[in-house]
Symmetry: C2
Subunit: 193 residues, 2 copies
DNA sequence: CGGTCTCTTGACGGAGTTCAAAGCTAGTGG
DNA sequence: CCACTAGCTTTGAACTCCGTCAAGAGACCG
């Protein structure tokens, strides 16, 4: 159950068997069926979620009922509403499973314990947060400067596996497009070849 | 010269006089005139920049010569191309001064020393990065779900001081609009009241 | 006072949205 | 194993918002 987590963490920091045992005691395994929520808008986000297997997404429902997807999280990725998690404020996001998934959850207090007992995790999470920040910056710049077609092509190039596993209307929602527009863009791309 | 830095840092962690002295030895003061660059595209970003006084911006020039502003940094804010700073890769951003400014610079190796000699700075920068990540997430969601007028009104509400100090075409560039469009949006808003 | 920077206005065009409908696909239960 | 349904994708037509191009007017600085 912890294989993916350990292999991911060990890309950044080394873990002894004792430290792995601490992880096993602090993370809570959980299975989630396709379409099940693990966080809903107005709840408080109590856990950081690591995806061992499957695929999750975080998204916001606006006043008109439109979904806007912030993130996809396939196996090996973290997902949460970080704002709600750290402030304890209500969340503006929903997180649910796109595929049947296996997760590892860690609460804020368990995370504090983890920092205390295995301090190098501070470093791990600092790097993780840094990379996430940089990725978000890239996405902002891409939103500012690219056409819809461009953004779609970039997404395929960067995350072909995600695009392949996710319904097309969710890709549209991630790109800030309507499903109709994405369908037409794909048609145009196909014809150009 | 270090007043703003210390007061900002002390919002998150406490600093002894000895620790402040360490800071004074590791940061490099620098003045920047309006319109001067401190980073240009294809340079490597050697410093994290703290703004003691004045106003900077980071932006990217695309193939068509259009500016896209990622960030404004008035006094009390940090700015850098974090990706270039940490990886040593060439930067895709320009950073220049919108007003005459006074800065404090810290290199990567000085930062490492800072972490070593004043470990609580790890915590400070973790929180800083976290908050930046959350701010970027909000901006992405705003790009996905808001109209141009909405985004402009939100920006005024969140950072009235920045909007007031920055030329309007730069606000447009930050919002992903042409100057003409922003001008028309402002006219519409003015007429609606 | 002259030039550069900045903002505004107008006409036109294009990318993407909206609304509506129909075709396709995959999963579920009988 | 088939039939049915719900979810997903495609297509069309009309419309809207914003970008582009071009011109002019104001404001600030040297």
């Amino acid at each position: 159950m912890f294989e993916v987590l350990f292999s991911k963490v060990e890309e950044k920091i080394n873990l002894s068997e004792a430290e792995k045992e601490i992880c096993r005691s602090l993370f809570i395994p959980k299975k989630l069926r396709k379409r099940q929520y693990i966080l809903q808008q107005d709840d408080i986000c109590k856990n950081l979620i690591f995806v061992e297997k499957g695929l999750l997404r975080s998204y916001n429902l606006d006043d008109k009922g439109n979904e806007h997807i912030l993130q996809f999280a396939p196996e090996g990725w973290w997902i949460a509403d970080v704002y709600s998690f750290f402030t304890g404020e209500n969340s503006n996001y929903n997180i649910d499973a796109i595929e049947d998934s296996e997760l590892l959850l860690i609460t804020n207090s368990a995370l504090e314990q983890l920092y205390e007992r295995v301090p190098k995790f501070e470093r791990y999470f600092r790097i993780l947060t840094q990379n996430n920040m940089i990725a978000m910056q890239k996405r902002v710049m891409s939103e500012l400067s690219s056409t819809a077609e461009d953004k779609y092509l970039k997404l395929i190039a960067a995350y072909p596996n995600i695009v392949a596993r996710v319904p097309q209307h969710m890709i549209a929602s991630y790109l800030g497009l309507t499903p109709e527009s994405l369908s037409r863009i794909r048609k145009r791309i196909a014809q150009e070849r």
